[in-house]
Symmetry: C2
Subunit: 244 residues, 2 copies
């Protein structure tokens, strides 16, 4: 039996946002590897072994996946959203780079609906012009770099999407991020807090930067900040296609 690793995105939560391609991979897999809440989204069945693991062990998970595949297993590595956006795909390739014994393992990546696009669709079209996506966690990069990117993004007049805005271990950084944005974009800029989009816990709130506070975000929140032209029409938020 020839094994493989397929890195798949389960989308933001709602089952109807999982692509048929990802469903097909899961139907063929012998093993599923991933963070506990994502593995929980895969239905158990005969012949399928689930390997849930805790947060922040991405490289261990990747090594496990490559090693099982080398022994002939068909391994699905699951992420929520899209696996290439702040998720498992990079971790698997990092592992491959440092472990040449896995060079012959077949690896494929299968895209999913990433959180910012689901959040944007629910809000209207806030990412309808040029935009950027920034992971606000400083687990893997210095905080100074985050601030620098926020300033460059503001000066480019990008709409922005922030992943992992706030965690219990670093509650003050998102406060600082909001300060930087307020300085660069002014108090009237629109900001949307989109929590648990497409799940039963979904909550969306749009307000101005001047009224935003860091407690409005948690680790299940994607934060969208408009560009200088982003505005409301009725209950929707949108960014025009043309520049302001």
């Amino acid at each position: 039996m020839t094994g493989w690793v397929a890195i798949v995105g389960l989308g933001p939560g709602r089952e109807t946002l999982v692509t048929p391609e990802v469903r097909d991979v899961l139907a063929e897999a012998t093993d599923v590897i991933g963070y506990i809440p994502y593995v929980d989204r895969v239905a158990p069945r005969d012949g399928l072994t689930l390997h849930p693991s805790d947060n922040r062990v991405e490289l261990d998970r990747a090594t496990h996946a490559l090693s099982l595949a080398q022994q002939g297993a068909r391994v699905a590595v699951v992420s929520s959203g899209d696996p290439g956006v702040f998720a498992m795909a990079s971790a698997v390739f990092e592992t491959l780079e440092s472990a040449p014994q896995f060079a012959d393992v077949e690896i494929t990546v299968h895209p999913g609906i990433t959180a910012m696009l689901a959040a944007a669709a629910t809000a209207g079209a806030p990412l309808g012009h040029d935009f950027c996506a920034i992971n606000l966690s400083d687990n893997l990069k210095p905080w100074d770099m985050v601030e620098h990117r926020l300033r460059m993004a503001a000066r480019a007049d990008f709409a922005m999407a922030f992943y992992n805005p706030r965690s219990k271990t670093r509650p003050h950084q998102f406060t600082r991020a909001l300060e930087v944005l307020l300085e660069e974009c002014g108090p009237d800029r629109l900001i949307t807090f989109a929590r648990a989009v497409s799940t039963s816990d979904e909550e969306l709130k749009t307000l101005t930067l001047g009224d935003a506070t860091s407690e409005m975000a948690d680790m299940r929140t994607v934060v969208l900040v408009g560009n200088s032209a982003t505005r409301r029409v009725g209950k929707y938020i949108y960014t025009p296609r043309s520049a302001s």
Copy 2:
């Protein structure tokens, strides 16, 4: 009958990348409106009227959709990829803003797999760290703004995705974009030309900025530029999760 407008993303091309949610919308629709090649992707059936239209008539299309829905039709407005990324969602909200007679029409947006994420998955994980998406067309913004955004994005050390890099009517601008990127990022930076991803015409080519030429892109190409840490491992391209 209560009408509605559902703005849906058909994904980059492969049928297995269309979400079940979008399939459900298309199954309930009475009318489908969109650019000819996207409407062509919807199977005809009894009770469904297809309204294909030419490029660059986004606002006419949006008005048509809102007007039909107001008369009771269930209208799917189709884009390729994700409808919120350089596609029809913003055009519908722009129209709504200028035509308050449509204020009561129910509008929903249904996300899809946008081209840059499909391209990234095919290449490996080049968007695995902070990144931006820029529409290189200057139909709706001055070219100076495009150049400014390229420079800001390079200085933020974002990975980048470019939509609409080149058209017959403006062949020289992408040449200029490559010059700006070469100046800002140097000749060794990796660039991927991903053409018609997930279709039978799919072609992927990765090389360095120093070797890239503008003829490598056309309007069916999404261009991905790595950040300073993006590299090759085997046949894959990836950007590490941690900053360089």
